[in-house]
């Protein structure tokens, strides 16, 4: 169901054609990362650390090299020594020297699963057997597994050269605190003095993984002239090219990255893990293609996760229901190297509310766990879990409806965020009103141990670089080449935007994801940016095509180009008419092919807001929480491809429910990951979830030709808080720890 702030004037946008890559994906034909097979291809394996923190005294690879069937072995000695240099990965930046050490450990291993060496052999079994023969001599060091422990002055130090970035100034002492940030506005003390009610709580959340079903896979071929080709499963081919070039000190022009289909990423397939290793191995094995594919265990132990966190929130409100002050301290695990999403979490934490007095502090802290990567609205779920449960408690103790309380304090155009930035046109209030009016919120909920919770969420979204090009075919159809990897229907959402621009049906456009040599630089499919930014590039391409085609029609008719009108696939000038197909068939006589390309870097990405409603039933004996009903409401700007917008909302909600109730990394005291498989790292299955209803609100983004806002990320922000609030309403306990797994809930029920 869709509610629109302004009547839609579109012909194609908002329709639901079958996706263009659909048949390949339902018949098993689509080729994902590990599906590639090249002549003479070798397979690889990676040796990983069994220790969470250790100095590497020596690595002896001779036995592996001598093992029959082995063609190459690589260690950190094969990687160039890099200066510290920061590369932008879209949803977070990364220091390249750290990234290089993350690919293959140099002097220390910093987490269980940290890669040490890679082997290429005639098949993966041989490579694994050979990797097991590599002798590593370690000096084992005490691990640091908790941010509070890591921040203590006497904590073991992970990175000797690390100094705190203290509000922009570098500290002097070795530390595990990589950075300390602060945003503030107004007078916090005064704000709390004005409050009639103050709620203060502390929260902890566990490290969790993106959980994409496809393990990482990369294949590389280095030919004798030094040309590198990489086939991989990635969210962004250009990002792989850039990172590989920097880490291996190769000119980017020597590297061509061909993105395969991708089996999910959620932020975890932006940074490289395998690609540079495959390049090293191909080079060392006499220029044979080498494929490296991770096992599920490797994926969980050594890629992805997002930060566990420790968050303190204090908020005050007056009896009239106005929030008078808000304060938060967020401490996020960065994993082994700096770069947690605490900065974006600070942007999320009070974003839905008008605050005159607020202070938000963040700490980025290294611990002996995998280097964290972006995960869908990075940092947002943890932050909203904390703030949105405190908001719920304020509303409840003031005797106010939780959605009405949010509406009363909700931000709109012109309101300023804690960091001072003013909102442009946003749709929070429309979203909250739609949630209030939803069939779900209006329906009664009865029965023991049942409760209904709501929460709001914000995500800033992103723009970035995108490119596209197109050519008109002789039959009047258009071939579109674009640089955004398609993780969930984006080829079609882009084809639809070109179709809308040209006034053609979607079927007249065929979209292809191009490799790095075939299209202009395009940032990855992340930051909820693809339909927005690549869509904008596609719109520009369409405008150019229209102008060029009008010129050709003018040439045919011998009139000035400005006397040709184009609409819905037909040209007209005075009495003369011509369809695009008729014109396209004559292009060879009218000046040759018509092609166009465009590159954009739009800044006006409109933030997205969501509100989720959930009903749960708690089993008081076992602590199991069953989700009975779920509704996700969200402002999509303009929902270009509504089925897939709704699917993003449903998928984000499902991931958030898993985060809320089950998912967590479990480490032993030595820092060994105990649950690196899906039986023990439990993600939601079909039986755990109800249908997930969606309500798409459309408040057009004034910064986009079609009003598009990003939609992919914000749906993971509210779920954990919404479920916690529902649990409170069901059984009267405020859960402050994620996941709210059965054991924790039983303990909380017994304590409270």
């Amino acid at each position: 169901m869709t509610t629109t702030a302004k009547p839609a004037q579109f012909k194609v946008l908002g329709s639901t054609p079958v996706r263009q890559d659909g048949v390949d994906k339902v018949t098993g034909r689509a080729q994902y990362g590990a599906d590639i097979r090249l002549p003479g291809m070798l397979s690889g394996a990676v040796l990983r650390s069994p220790h969470a923190h250790a100095r590497i005294k020596s690595i002896d690879t001779r036995a592996a090299e001598a093992y029959p069937g082995v063609r190459a072995v690589a260690t950190a000695r094969d990687l160039p020594d890099l200066e510290s240099k920061v590369a932008d990965l879209g949803e977070g930046s990364v220091n390249l020297r750290y990234q290089s050490s993350n690919l293959l450990a140099r002097d220390k291993v910093l987490y269980f699963g940290h890669a040490l060496a890679a082997v290429a052999a005639v098949n993966a079994h041989v490579a694994e057997a050979a990797a097991a023969l590599i002798q590593v001599d370690y000096e084992i060091l005490p691990p640091v597994l908790d941010v509070r422990q890591a921040m203590r002055p006497d904590a073991p130090i992970l990175l000797e050269e690390l100094r705190t970035d203290e509000l922009g100034q570098k500290g002097e002492q070795p530390t595990n605190i990589a950075a300390h940030y602060l945003d503030e506005t107004g007078d916090l003390e005064q704000g709390f003095r004005e409050a009639d009610l103050i709620v203060e709580r502390e929260f902890t959340t566990a490290m969790v993984h993106q959980g994409y079903i496809e393990p990482h896979s990369a294949t590389a071929l280095v030919t004798a002239d030094g040309q590198v080709t990489i086939w991989c499963s990635t969210q962004g081919a250009f990002g792989v090219r850039e990172q590989t070039a920097e880490i291996l000190r190769l000119p980017a022009s020597k590297i061509r990255v061909i993105p395969m289909e991708i089996g999910g990423g959620f932020g975890g397939k932006i940074g490289v893990y395998l690609e540079p290793l495959a390049v090293l191995l191909s080079r060392k094995s006499g220029h044979r293609p080498v494929k490296l594919t991770m096992s599920r265990r490797e994926v969980l132990a050594a890629t992805g996760p997002t930060s566990g966190s420790s968050i303190k929130v204090k908020m005050g409100a007056n009896r009239a229901g106005q929030i008078t002050a808000a304060q938060a301290t967020l401490i996020y695990e960065a994993g082994a190297y700096p770069g947690s999403p605490v900065g974006s979490a600070m942007g999320v934490i009070f974003a839905p509310y008008r605050l005159r007095n607020a202070r938000v502090e963040g700490y980025d802290v290294v611990v002996n766990k995998p280097r964290t990567a972006a995960y869908r609205a990075p940092g947002g779920t943890n932050a909203a879990f904390a703030s949105e449960t405190v908001v719920d408690e304020l509303a409840e103790r003031l005797g106010l409806d939780p959605l009405a309380f949010r509406l009363q304090n909700g931000v709109q155009e012109g309101d300023r965020r804690v960091n001072g930035v003013a909102y442009k046109r946003i749709g929070l209030l429309e979203v909250l009103r739609a949630a209030q009016g939803s069939a779900h919120y209006q329906a009664p909920l009865a029965g023991p141990y049942r409760g209904r919770g709501v929460a709001a969420g914000y995500w800033g979204n992103y723009g970035g670089k995108s490119s596209a090009s197109a050519s008109v075919n002789a039959d009047g159809t258009v071939s579109l080449l674009e640089g955004s990897v398609d993780i969930g229907g984006s080829r079609t959402a882009l084809a639809m935007q070109l179709a809308e621009t040209l006034g053609l049906p979607t079927e007249s456009i065929r979209a292809t994801v191009a490799d790095t040599d075939a299209v202009g630089d395009t940032e990855g499919t992340y930051g909820s940016r693809t339909t927005f930014a690549t869509g904008w590039a596609v719109y520009e391409v369409g405008q150019q095509l229209k102008a060029k085609l009008c010129e050709r029609a003018a040439r045919l008719w011998g009139v000035p180009a400005d006397q040709v009108q184009y609409a819905d696939g037909s040209f007209a000038s005075g009495e003369q008419h011509l369809t695009l197909a008729e014109l396209a068939a004559q292009l060879d006589r009218l000046g040759g092919p018509v092609v166009a390309s465009a590159a954009v870097q739009p800044k006006n990405y409109g933030p997205g807001f969501a509100a989720h409603i959930v009903d749960v039933e708690v089993d008081p004996e076992t602590g199991k929480v069953q989700v009975l009903r779920y509704t996700a409401v969200q402002d999509a700007g303009k929902a270009v491809y509504p089925n897939y917008v709704a699917s993003q909302m449903q998928g984000g909600a499902a991931q958030g429910i898993g985060w809320a109730l089950n998912e967590e990394y479990v480490y032993d005291a030595q820092g060994r990951l105990l649950n690196a498989n899906w039986l023990d790292y439990r993600m939601p299955v079909s039986l755990d979830l109800p249908m997930i209803d969606t309500l798409i609100v459309e408040v057009p983004n004034p910064g986009h030709p079609f009003g598009v806002r990003g939609v992919g990320e914000v749906p993971i922000v509210p779920p954990a808080a919404a479920v916690a609030n529902a649990i409170y309403r069901a059984v009267g306990v405020r859960m402050t720890e994620l996941p709210m797994a059965p054991g924790r809930l039983v303990a909380a029920l017994q304590a409270g």
């Binding site: 339902v26 080729q31 959980g211 994409y212 599920r296 969930g488 897939y644 939601p684 979830l689």
Partner: protein, 155 residues
């Protein structure tokens, strides 16, 4: 090496394999059928689902040597000649996939369900598919697609 003769998607097939090789590895690496996916290689995700004598199995948990003389159907053998299976069509109509990596496994698993339970309830669909992980969709559209395919077959 073991010499294996089997019927694969309706055609006789022979291959050689090592005793340690899984059916999934042989399908993907030896026979070039990459429609069955490896998500976990230990029976937790269903991305590798195939039918063995009509029964749903995780190909990562079956040794290739075990399929001697048996009949296999993979995602590549689900569609009738020149068309799509109702499940495939309904997955497309319902937008029941995002990345599509789990899709072959879901379609094979759902086919096994409809073969034995032509008119399943929503709960039966959810129970049957609980061995298949999808991280993208939240299952809503997958469950609806399976129910719609069941209805289509009945019509």
């Amino acid at each position: 090496m073991i010499h294996v003769q089997t019927t694969l998607n309706g055609e006789p097939v022979e291959f050689l394999c090592e005793p340690r090789q899984s059916l999934l590895e042989v399908l993907r690496e030896t026979l070039g059928l990459t429609g069955a996916k490896e998500g976990c290689n230990n029976g937790n995700c269903g991305a590798c689902n195939v039918l063995l004598d009509g029964a749903l199995v995780n190909a990562c948990l079956v040794l290739a040597g075990e399929v001697q003389g048996r009949t296999l159907t993979t995602i590549e053998g689900i569609a009738p000649a020149g068309g799509l299976h109702p499940l495939q069509r309904q997955f497309l109509e319902h937008a029941a996939l995002q990345c599509g990596f789990c899709t072959p496994g879901f379609i094979v698993a759902a086919k096994a369900l409809l073969d034995c339970t032509p008119q399943p309830t929503e709960l039966e669909v959810r129970q049957w598919l609980a061995g298949n992980l999808c991280r993208c969709t939240g299952y809503d559209r997958i469950v609806r697609a399976v129910l719609a395919a069941a209805e289509e077959a009945q019509a």
